[in-house]
């Protein structure tokens, strides 16, 4: 089990180097019924996010007169995990991740522009192979951009673990289930401000600085790819109106 995580030659179980990220594929606007949507694949983890809004608040009691509120729902498909999971409407983990994503984007979205409104974020994990929360955050960023909702910056997330003094970035399911620390970071890359940080299991203080630096770099790398896709999509979408945007 031990040598599966990192071999003697310095290769991980899927052939990556420690700081190598998984292949990222993303697409905007794939769900026509939603105001904004995006599909992001990192390795075998596939997450689809739909954004509805800003629209009138569904519940008058939760309405905020100064800013919009965000409501987020996170769901893992029954066939998404290695062992089939029966669909549960509100299991603890899904609710927790939903709240985490909501808090993340409350920091990034310019909510003051839409008082008394509501923005709905629906996350559907189609396939989970590690880092589902991170891929969900990346996909939500793209979906919000697709919906035209103004944000202060991209929010990019990356998960890492430490194994034998090496930091392994963008961990997959096997690496997540090893007994090492699970460090997740969501960052606004331009200002390098941390929007969300989660650590599970134990991480030695000596490794903290290294892990934070490398994970932020991972997030910056993700931002470059997401930005490239957004620009491509903008040019394509504008072409339908015969507009050539400057990107």
């Amino acid at each position: 089990m031990a040598s599966e995580i990192l071999s003697a030659e310095g290769l991980r179980c899927d052939g990556r180097r420690p700081q190598e990220m998984r292949k990222l594929k993303c697409e905007l606007g794939i769900s026509e019924g939603a105001d904004g949507s995006a599909l992001v694949e990192q390795g075998y983890t596939k997450v689809l996010v739909s954004v509805f809004g800003p629209h009138e608040c569904a519940n008058r009691n939760t309405r905020n007169h100064e800013r919009a509120i965000i409501s987020c729902s996170y769901n893992l498909a029954s066939f998404g995990s290695a062992i089939r999971k029966k669909k549960m409407n509100s299991d603890k983990k899904s609710t927790e991740v939903g709240v985490m994503i909501q808090n993340t984007f409350e920091a990034a979205v310019m909510l003051e522009k839409f008082p008394k409104s509501q923005i709905d974020i629906y996350v559907q994990v189609l396939q989970g192979d590690g880092g589902e929360r991170c891929v969900a955050i990346n996909a939500t960023t793209l979906a919000l951009i697709n919906a035209g909702i103004p944000m202060k910056d991209y929010v990019c997330a990356c998960a890492a673990t430490v194994y034998q003094d090496s930091v392994l970035l963008d961990i997959n399911n096997l690496e997540e289930s090893s007994r090492g620390p699970l460090f997740m970071l969501a960052v606004m890359p331009r200002t390098e401000s941390i929007v969300q940080l989660q650590l599970d299991h134990r991480l030695h203080n000596d490794h903290l600085d290294k892990v934070v630096k490398e994970t932020i770099q991972g997030c910056r790398d993700i931002q470059v790819l997401l930005d490239r896709q957004v620009k491509e999509w903008t040019v394509e979408a504008a072409a339908a109106y015969d507009i050539k945007p400057r990107v």
């Binding site: 769900s31 026509e32 019924g33 939603a34 949507s37 075998y44 596939k46 689809l48 996010v49 739909s50 509805f52 569904a58 729902s73 769901n75 498909a77 029954s78 066939f79 998404g80 995990s81 290695a82 062992i83 089939r84 669909k87 409407n89 509100s90 709905d120 629906y122 996350v123 559907q124 189609l126 396939q127 989970g128 192979d129």
Partner: protein
């Protein structure tokens, strides 16, 4: 998802259907273009994605070895579950989708209820002991009408793409050992030559049509689900929705349903076979 139409629009659509010339130029028996892709989820034993109009469905088949049912010790199990994802519509958050999901689950399960649709005997590993249980999960990623048809097509494609590892059984009684093969190429595929698909016919005014758009659904009264097998046999039938259908129209609808179903099966089988000739795994 609620379409609001004026009386003039409703009249226009109803007249169109009755004269076999719908708003988008289709006849009453014409389907829109169906987009189908199999093996989209590497985590599963079989999967398919199907898109028709504004409806998109993802089906995943996962298999596990379980104990046989005491009342049916010589066959395996097939469990079909439908799930409407919140990404399709805000109405589907939490318990909002329960009614629709139950409806879909029931219709799709009913479709495969008869014994000659899929051979459950093939799924038996050791009679009286173990069998394969196939969990078929139908996930609606976009809901834009005609859900049952799209789901049934994706279901058949997913079952077609399902590969199950070969199990080696040695010994008998207490010393029996089952070895499930690890080799990804040491697999067998299900026989889906009799699997049905659901054709839904909507009654619109004095006529009826298949594959309605959202506007046409808003003008319809009742609808009939017909489960059609490739050889033209009917595996199930159900009338649903509000509205009455007189017996003559019902027989006509079923006849059309079976005819359309056979044609779709032909096209579907052709495309699935064509995909087989593409690169493996």
């Amino acid at each position: 998802m609620t379409t609001r139409l004026s009386n003039a629009e409703i009249q226009y659509i109803v007249d169109g259907v009755e004269q076999d010339f719908r708003s988008d130029g289709r006849g009453a028996e014409d389907y829109r273009q169906i987009e189908l892709e199999t093996r989209v989820l590497p985590n599963t034993n079989g999967s398919a994605r199907c898109k028709l109009g504004k409806t998109e469905v993802l089906v995943g088949v996962k298999a596990e070895v379980v104990d046989v049912d005491v009342h049916a010790p010589h066959i395996g199990k097939l469990v079909i579950t439908a799930d409407c994802s919140a990404v399709a519509s805000p109405k589907f958050v939490g318990k909002g989708s329960e009614a629709l999901e139950n409806d879909l689950t029931n219709v799709l399960s009913f479709l495969y209820n008869s014994t000659n649709t899929i051979s459950l005997k093939d799924l038996c590993i050791v009679k009286g002991e173990s069998c394969w249980q196939l969990h078929v999960d139908v996930l609606f990623v976009q809901c834009g009408g005609n859900l049952f048809d799209v789901a049934s097509i994706a279901l058949k494609a997913a079952l077609y793409s399902t590969t199950l590892p070969i199990v080696k059984v040695s010994g008998e009684g207490i010393e029996m050992e089952m070895e499930v093969s690890d080799d990804p190429y040491h697999v067998w595929k299900l026989d889906v030559s009799n699997c049905p698909i659901c054709i839904t016919l909507y009654q619109i005014g004095g006529g009826f049509a298949v594959d309605p758009s959202e506007e046409e659904v808003a003008c319809s009264e009742g609808f009939v689900h017909v489960g059609v097998q490739p050889n033209g046999d009917m595996s199930s039938m159900e009338k649903a929705g509000a509205g009455n259908i007189d017996p003559t129209t019902l027989l006509e609808m079923v006849e059309v349903g079976v005819r359309v179903g056979e044609e779709i099966h032909k096209q579907l089988n052709k495309q699935l076979d064509a995909e087989k000739s593409l690169a493996k795994l």
